[in-house]
């Protein structure tokens, strides 16, 4: 279908004889309209859907964030930027932002590095290559709730697998939930388990597009494998690395299910909020207690801005640090 769009031969549609009967002229006009407007109509479904389910909620969230809007009591009063002012002073919000950033860094940095190494290994000639390549994405297609339950058991404080192993070799058990860093580590581990293979596969796809003769001439010049990796592979897949970093930033900042399952399904995120993320705090404020939609909307909007800022920072940093081909 798409191949016929706009491919109407001009000789047939254009320049009818001036004495043409009325219906010929009308079809000529329709033909012009077709050429002019139908491409927009074809893409319209996406934009209509995006407008209804994407843009409108985002803009409406901005609107709601300007109100003192509590569903339980039914108050809805215009409050200007009051919600944002309160947010700036809300220690729990900054704690959640701190946790989110911590978990994000702790998960994304090792995840992308390991994915890059993994992709490099999978890019070699070996036996059962397809099987291995497919194998690394299996964690990604498991349900995140199931992952959460299993890892919550592995990292359980008293009867967990890891603490049991530590006990058998004489170490003290780790307080996987009460210790902030331990809880971040466990959550980051969960995230990495699911997403490393996915990113590796994306890197692999990019690596396969690199012409082989580049490596051949490099090895003729005596470059080591390591040197080839850093000087050929990484710069040439730079756009892909940028893509994965942006996607990881968007996903990482919205992390919700993993810490929720890890904390026994409570949005509190540990007895002292030590692993409550922003998404969990938004949920806590918006959908439990007083259902403070205004406050929750202000937080959601701020999270949106944070994601954009961080994505841009990452974009600039990566562009600077990884030297690409100069175009």
């Amino acid at each position: 279908m798409s191949s016929t769009v706009g491919a109407v031969p001009p000789s047939r549609a254009a320049s009818p004889p001036p004495s043409a009967p009325l219906h010929r002229r009308r079809s000529y006009r329709l033909g012009r309209w077709d050429l002019k407007y139908s491409p927009y109509l074809y893409v319209a479904p996406f934009f209509v859907l995006f407008g209804v389910f994407g843009l409108f909620p985002v803009l409406y969230t901005v609107y709601v964030s300007l109100f003192d809007y509590e569903l339980l009591s039914g108050t809805k009063e215009y409050a200007g930027l009051e919600n944002y002012r309160l947010l700036m002073q809300d220690a729990q919000f900054w704690n959640a932002a701190y946790n989110t950033l911590g978990i994000f860094l702790l998960s994304t940095v090792p995840q992308l590095i390991v994915a890059l190494m993994l992709a490099n290994l999978l890019n070699r000639q070996m036996k059962a290559r397809t099987l291995l390549r497919m194998g690394v994405v299996i964690p990604n297609i498991t349900s995140v709730a199931a992952v959460g339950i299993i890892f919550a058991l592995i990292f359980a404080d008293r009867y967990g697998l890891i603490n049991w192993l530590l006990g058998t070799v004489g170490f003290d058990p780790i307080a996987w939930r009460d210790n902030r860093f331990a809880s971040w580590f466990a959550i980051a581990f969960m995230v990495d388990w699911r997403w490393t293979g996915y990113n590796a596969l994306i890197y692999l796809g990019a690596m396969q597009a690199i012409p082989k003769d580049l490596y051949e001439s490099a090895s003729l010049d005596g470059a080591s494998t390591w040197r080839q990796f850093w000087s050929i592979t990484v710069p040439l897949i730079r756009p892909t690395i940028l893509f994965t970093i942006i996607i990881s930033t968007i996903g990482g900042f919205q992390i919700f299910t993993e810490p929720l399952m890890y904390g026994n399904g409570l949005v509190r995120g540990g007895v002292d909020h030590q692993f409550q993320t922003l998404a969990m705090y938004i949920y806590e404020k918006t959908f439990t207690g007083n259902a403070e939609y205004g406050y929750g909307s202000a937080m959601s909007w701020l999270l949106f801005m944070m994601i954009i800022v961080f994505a841009l920072i990452n974009f600039v940093l990566v562009r600077r640090s990884v030297k690409g081909d100069k175009k």
Binding site: L30, A44, L72, R268, V271, A291
Partner: protein, 437 residues
């Protein structure tokens, strides 16, 4: 050919775009036939409940007795899925059923903002007041006593579940009457725990967590909990709360608690590993939680004694009539029937829900119930007594929020040594003040 094709294409695109617009508009259409009056004066009522209220048979009986009323029962899944939807429907003024199920904590939240619900006293609910235990009735009443927003469905009751086999190993009595006698007060209960521990023959702790003491102890010893009747937070000044907090944490320091967090993977593991010997348990927890978590291997090792201090309750629900209903009278009739003795007993038969209706509690169908898993304990009698013996306590709109999301976790932090007892207390009070201001 090309003109024809092009015309078709334009038409198709237009239809597609219109379809998208219509489709999204269609999403907002819901329940618009709700509350409609059909031919012959037939009234259709929508009943919305969560989990399993066990009302299938009771609704059939109600419809048979009221041929002009048709009931559509919408089972809304888990409470956490239903609750946010209900909040939205009530705020939007449409979408909520004519009768809705409210869990106790949710109901308490609405007692402070009752204008979304019909006043059941205006609909004649005063006639059934004597059917319910006073505390169950009072929970649904606004502080000024002028508006009632719900009628009680099930209750939880409270008893002390204990491990007979561990008691025996430690040289304690195992017979449930004997055990009940040895722990009539909480002080007795703690003393017995020390004896259990001092025997040196058991590895298990006495209680699952220090926090388990809090709810029953405060409810038995105070007329208020975290809030006074004006819904002002008094958790920091109510002496019984601090007293219970200290008592529980002292038990933890004496090594009497297993320091496990309720509903966590470790709590599940503690059941399987027999890590504690006693647990205050409501009726729904016996067959629904303890039996499956302890597993068939521990069948017949658990038994049930009376709760120290005399009575208690944990959990339970209500039926309310949202103010947006078009048929308040018929909706009240339905709620009244479902919370009558007949409705309660039908729900007990179908879903094991413990009645809150006094006559229902005394009915042999409930009272003679025993539990095989718990060594044949007369659960109907034990739990029934605990509900009837309970004194009314004013809980306040945000009771559940303050307990479950603030005091309980802070007490756990103190119990496990993440914070000192004083630091945790200060934090809990600060957080609660912030959440309730």
């Amino acid at each position: 050919m090309s003109v024809m094709r092009r015309r078709l294409r334009i038409a198709a695109a237009a239809v597609l775009a219109a379809g998208v617009a219509l489709g999204s508009a269609g999403c907002s259409k819901k329940n618009d036939d709700e509350g409609s009056t059909g031919e012959g004066g037939q009234v259709k009522l929508v009943l919305q409940t969560f989990q399993n209220f066990g009302y299938d048979q009771a609704i059939k009986d109600f419809e048979a007795a009221h041929p002009n009323i048709k009931v559509e029962h919408q089972k809304m899944g888990e409470l956490r899925d239903f609750q946010p939807k209900l909040v939205q429907w009530l705020a939007a003024g449409s979408g909520a059923g004519d009768v809705v199920g409210l869990e106790e904590g949710v109901l308490l939240g609405y007692v402070q903002n009752p204008d979304k619900f019909a006043n059941l006293l205006d609909l004649g609910a005063g006639e059934v007041k004597a059917n319910f235990p006073e505390w169950k009735w009072n929970n649904a009443l606004t502080p000024d006593g002028k508006k009632l927003i719900g009628l009680g469905t099930d209750v939880g009751g409270l008893a002390m579940c204990y491990r007979k086999d561990l008691f025996q190993q430690a040289g304690l009595p195992t017979d449930r009457d004997e055990v009940s006698k040895r722990m009539t007060t909480w002080q007795d209960y703690i003393a017995l725990g020390k004896e259990f521990k001092a025997s040196g023959k058991v590895k298990a702790a006495w209680l699952d967590s220090a926090t388990s003491l809090m709810q029953p102890y405060v409810m038995q010893n105070s007329q208020t909990f975290f809030f006074d009747k004006d819904n002002k937070f008094i958790g920091d000044t109510n002496p019984v709360i601090k007293q219970t907090w200290d008592l529980g944490l002292q038990m933890a320091r004496d090594g009497l608690t297993a320091k496990t967090q309720r509903w966590s993977a470790d709590w599940d593991g503690a059941f399987k590993n027999s890590a504690f010997a006693t647990l205050p348990c409501p009726a729904w927890m016996t067959e629904g939680v303890i039996a499956p978590k302890s597993g068939p291997a521990n069948s017949g090792k658990w038994d049930i004694a009376n709760i120290p201090g005399g009575g208690g309750n944990w959990g339970g629900s209500y039926l309310a009539v949202p103010a947006q209903t078009k048929h308040p009278k018929e909706a009240y009739e339905l709620a009244k029937y479902l919370t009558s003795k007949e409705g309660h007993l039908a729900a007990f038969k179908e879903a094991g829900a413990m009645p809150s209706d006094i006559a229902g509690l005394d009915d042999p169908a409930f009272k003679d119930k025993t539990s095989e898993y718990f060594s044949g304990a007369p659960t109907g009698k034990i739990f029934g007594e605990s509900v009837k013996n309970m004194k009314p306590v004013f809980l306040g709109a945000k009771h559940q929020q303050v307990w479950e999301t603030i005091f309980e976790p802070q007490m756990q932090a103190a119990e496990r040594g993440r914070l000192s007892a004083d630091a945790a207390w200060t934090k809990a009070v600060d957080e609660a003040k912030k959440a309730t201001s």
